[in-house]
C-alpha cells in the first residue's frame, strides 16, 4: 500500500518535472513567499513579526535566490479574520503570483486560506495553527501542516499524565469547536488508560476571570485539571490557579496548548511543574540551540516552536524548489514529500499524503524557579514521542487524499 503510494507520488513528481521543464521554470522570474499571520492580535507573540523574521532568516541563509532567480517576501496581517486572510491570499495568488503562503495561525483563517489555495492552485505551509482538522476533514493537496496539532498535544500530555498516576481529571474547556475537540481527545485518552474525567466546565471564549471555574475545579476533587483552552485563557487560568493555591493543595494542572511565550509571560512561579507537549524547544539539542542563539541575536527573544517551524519549513520548501528547478506548486509539493525533514527543527520528519508533517514530539515539564538558570531556561524535556506515534494515524483519517 504505502509502497504503491510512494511510487505513485514519485511518478507524479517526475511527470510534473518533465512537464514544467518544457515551460518557463520559475513563474515571473522570482520565487515569491507570502507570510500571513496575526501581527497585532491575540496570537502576535506566537508567530507574528517574530515568524516573519524567521522566514527572512531562512531566505538569507539560503542566499536570497534559487537557481538564479531572487526570492521575494511579502507579508500581511490577517487580524485573525477569515475573510481578511482569504482575501489577502486570493489577491497574492491572482495579482502577485505568490508561490508559497507561510505562517497562518488562527485555525479559522487557515481553513479559509487553504480553501482558496486549493481553488487557485497555490501552495501553503501552515505553521501556527492547532486544529488537527486542517489535515483531516479539511485536508487539501495544496497545503502542508508543519509544527504541531491538537492530536499530539492532547494525546501526548494526557497519556503521560495518566501514566504518572493522575487518573481523575477535571476539564476546563474553552467553549468553542477547538476546545470541545481537545476535551474529547483528552477524555478518550484518559479513559483508554484507565482514568476518569469526573467533571468539566465550559467557559466562554475569551474569559478574563477564572476564579469561579478554578473554585469548581477545586471542589471536584480531581487530581488533574486539564486546560482545554489556549492563549490568554490558559494564561489566566494558570495564574488564577496559582493564586488559589490549587497546586499547593495537591492538584496538578495539565496544559494542552501552551507555548514558550505563554510560560515566559506568566513566569516560573506560576507555571512550575506544568506538563505539556511541544514540537520543539530551543534548548533541546546542539542544532536547535545553535539556530536559536542566532535568532535571539536578531530578535532579542527566544523563538517559539512555531517560529522555528517557519524557518524549517521555508528551508525545506526552498530546497525542494532548488531540486526540481521550478516553482510549480504540485511539483514542489511532491519533492518536499520525497525528502525526509531532518534539520534544526524536526527529528524523523516526513510529510504524509494528508499533508501532515509528522516528526518527533516532546513531553516537557516547566522548571521551578530554582532549577532555571536564565530568563529563557524554562522547560525540561522529559521524554520523546516518536513521530509515528505522535500524530493521528492515517487509518483514522477522514482526509479524501488518504481514502482514495
Amino acid at each position: 500500500m504505502t509502497f504503491n503510494k510512494t511510487l505513485l507520488a514519485s511518478t507524479i513528481a517526475v511527470t510534473a518535472m518533465m512537464a514544467s521543464g518544457a515551460q518557463a521554470q520559475m513563474s515571473n522570474d522570482a520565487v515569491r513567499i507570502g507570510y500571513l499571520a496575526d501581527m497585532s492580535g491575540t496570537y502576535r507573540d506566537l508567530a507574528g513579526p517574530g515568524g516573519l523574521e524567521a522566514l527572512e532568516m531562512a531566505v538569507e541563509d539560503f542566499g536570497g535566490e534559487v537557481n538564479g532567480v531572487p526570492i521575494e517576501v511579502f507579508s500581511a496581517d490577517d487580524r485573525n479574520s477569515a475573510d481578511v486572510g482569504a482575501n489577502t491570499v486570493r489577491g497574492w495568488i491572482d495579482q502577485q503570483n505568490v508561490d508559497l503562503v507561510a505562517g497562518m495561525v488562527a485555525s479559522s483563517v487557515t481553513i479559509a486560506v487553504t480553501k482558496v489555495l486549493e481553488e487557485a492552485g497555490g501552495l501553503g505551509i501552515v505553521s501556527g495553527s492547532a486544529a488537527s482538522s486542517i489535515t483531516n476533514e479539511h485536508c487539501t493537496p495544496n497545503h502542508i501542516h508543519w509544527v504541531y496539532d491538537t492530536y499530539p498535544l492532547a494525546h501526548g500530555t494526557a497519556k503521560a499524565v495518566v501514566e504518572q498516576g493522575g487518573d481523575t481529571w477535571f476539564m476546563l474547556t474553552a467553549d468553542y469547536a477547538f476546545g470541545h475537540a481537545l476535551e474529547n481527545d483528552v477524555t478518550q485518552v484518559v479513559e483508554e488508560h484507565g482514568g476518569e474525567v469526573v467533571g468539566r466546565v465550559r467557559h466562554p471564549f475569551p474569559t478574563n476571570d477564572f476564579s469561579s471555574y478554578i473554585l469548581q475545579a477545586q471542589g471536584s476533587g480531581a487530581d488533574i485539571i486539564g486546560l482545554a483552552n489556549a492563549g490568554s485563557d490558559t494564561v489566566n487560568a494558570i495564574k488564577t490557579a496559582s493564586q488559589f493555591g490549587l497546586t499547593q493543595a495537591g492538584q496538578q494542572l495539565a496544559g494542552l496548548l501552551i507555548f514558550l511565550n505563554d510560560v515566559h509571560a506568566m513566569g516560573l512561579e506560576a507555571t512550575q511543574g506544568l506538563l505539556l507537549t511541544t514540537g520543539w524547544y530551543w534548548d533541546m539539542d546542539e542544532q536547535s540551540r545553535e539556530w536559536a542563539e542566532r535568532y535571539f541575536e536578531r530578535m532579542g527573544r527566544m523563538p517559539t516552536m512555531v517560529q522555528a517551524g517557519i524557518y524549517s519549513s521555508t528551508m525545506h520548501y526552498l530546497n525542494a524548489v532548488d531540486a526540481v528547478d521550478t516553482d510549480d506548486p504540485m511539483a514542489v509539493r511532491a519533492q518536499m514529500a520525497e525528502t525526509p525533514v531532518e534539520d534544526m527543527f524536526a527529528r524523523n520528519g516526513r510529510i504524509r499524503e494528508d499533508g501532515r508533517m509528522v516528526h518527533d514530539m516532546y513531553l516537557a515539564e516547566v522548571k521551578t524557579p530554582e532549577e532555571s538558570t536564565g530568563e529563557w531556561d524554562l522547560y525540561e524535556i522529559k521524554s520523546t514521542i516518536p513521530a509515528d506515534e505522535a500524530y493521528r494515524p492515517l487509518s483514522e483519517s477522514q482526509c479524501d487524499l488518504v481514502n482514495q
Binding site: 492580535g41 467557559h203 475569551p206 476564579s211 473554585l215 505563554d262 509571560a265
Partner: protein
C-alpha cells in the same frame, strides 16, 4: 452536605464571594463612567483603555522606576487622571456643544489608539505583576480559600466607592457637581467655574479607572487588550443602573457581579452574555435604568 440547586453550600458561598469581588471591579469602573456621564453627558468609550493604562503604568513604574504597589496605587491614578485632564482640555472640550454621540465616537477612537500603540510595544501576551508581599497568601473563610489579595480588592474598591459617594453627596464640591449636572448654565451664572468643574470631573473619572487598573494588575495578565473586553460589560452595568446615577452604578456593579458569578456555576457558557440579557429586560421595564430618573 447542604446542597443549593445541586451545588454544595460551601461552593455556592464561594461563588457568591467571587461574584462580589468581580462586582466590586464593575462598581469601580461603572462609577467612573457614571460620574463622567453625569456632568459631561459623554459615554467614555476610552474607559477600558484608561483602566488598561492604569495597570500598565503600575507595571512599568515597578520595572523601570522601582515604584512599589502601594505608591503606584496613589501615583498612577494621578498620572492617568492628568492624562484625562489633557484629553478633556484639548479634545472633548472642542466637541462639547455637539450631539453627545460624538463624544462616544471620539473616545472610541482614542481607545483604538491607546490599545494599538501599546500592542506594538508590548505585544499581547501580557506580563504579570507580582502580588505585594503584605497581601500574599490566603484566608480560610471556612467555606473557601480566599487569596488575601482578592479580599483586599473587595475592601479597597468598596472604600473608594463609598468615599466617592460621600464626596458627591456630602461635600460642597459634590454639591456643585450635582448642581452642574442639573443645570450648568445656572451654575455658571452663580460664578462657579463650570469648565474647570468639567475638566476635574473627567480627570477624576479617568483616575478611578486607573485605580481599578492598578488593583487588577496583580490579578490578571497586564496586556493592552485587558480593558476592551471589560468595557462593554461595564457599559451594560451603567445602563442597567441608570446613566449618571452614582449609587445605581455601585449597587448594580455588585449585583451584576453576583448574577454573573451564579451564571458561571449553572450555565457557564452564557457567563459573558447574561448581563446583556438583564440589560434588555431592565430597559424594557424601566427605560431609565434601575436607579435613573425618568426623563
Amino acid at each position: 452536605m447542604t446542597m443549593i440547586f445541586g451545588v454544595p453550600l460551601a461552593v455556592f458561598m464561594g461563588q457568591l464571594m467571587l461574584g462580589l469581588i468581580n462586582g466590586a471591579f464593575y462598581a469601580l469602573l461603572s462609577l467612573g463612567l457614571a460620574v463622567i456621564f453625569g456632568l459631561l453627558k459623554i459615554i467614555n468609550f476610552a474607559h477600558g483603555a484608561q483602566y488598561m493604562l492604569g495597570a500598565f503604568a503600575a507595571l512599568l513604574g515597578l520595572q523601570y522606576l522601582g515604584i512599589n504597589y502601594w505608591l503606584a496605587l496613589l501615583l498612577v491614578p494621578l498620572v492617568v487622571g492628568a492624562l484625562g485632564v489633557v484629553i478633556e482640555r484639548t479634545l472633548l472640550r472642542r466637541i462639547a456643544h455637539l450631539d453627545h454621540l460624538y463624544g462616544l465616537l471620539l473616545t472610541y477612537g482614542l481607545a483604538l489608539i491607546f490599545e494599538g500603540a501599546l500592542i506594538n510595544f508590548f505585544g499581547v501576551s501580557g506580563s504579570s505583576y507580582p502580588v505585594p508581599e503584605a497581601l500574599q497568601g490566603g484566608l480560610n473563610l471556612g467555606f473557601m480559600f480566599l487569596p488575601t489579595y482578592r479580599g483586599w480588592v473587595l475592601v479597597a474598591a468598596l472604600v473608594v466607592c463609598l468615599g466617592t459617594w460621600f464626596m458627591i453627596e456630602r461635600t460642597r464640591l459634590g454639591a456643585y457637581l450635582r448642581a452642574g449636572t442639573e443645570n450648568p448654565a445656572l451654575m455658571q451664572a452663580f460664578g462657579v467655574n463650570v469648565p474647570l468643574l468639567i475638566t476635574l470631573t473627567y480627570g477624576f473619572g479617568v483616575a478611578l479607572a486607573a485605580f481599578a487598573g492598578v488593583l487588577a494588575a496583580p490579578l490578571y495578565p497586564v496586556s493592552p487588550t485587558m480593558g476592551s473586553s471589560l468595557l462593554i460589560v461595564v457599559f451594560a452595568v451603567v445602563v442597567i443602573g441608570g446613566m449618571g446615577s452614582i449609587l445605581g452604578a455601585v449597587l448594580t456593579g455588585l449585583g451584576m457581579g453576583l448574577i454573573e458569578g451564579l451564571t458561571k456555576v449553572y450555565y457557564p457558557e452564557a457567563a459573558n452574555t447574561v448581563i446583556f440579557l438583564v440589560m434588555v429586560v431592565v430597559l424594557m421595564l424601566r427605560p431609565a435604568g434601575l436607579f435613573g430618573k425618568e426623563a
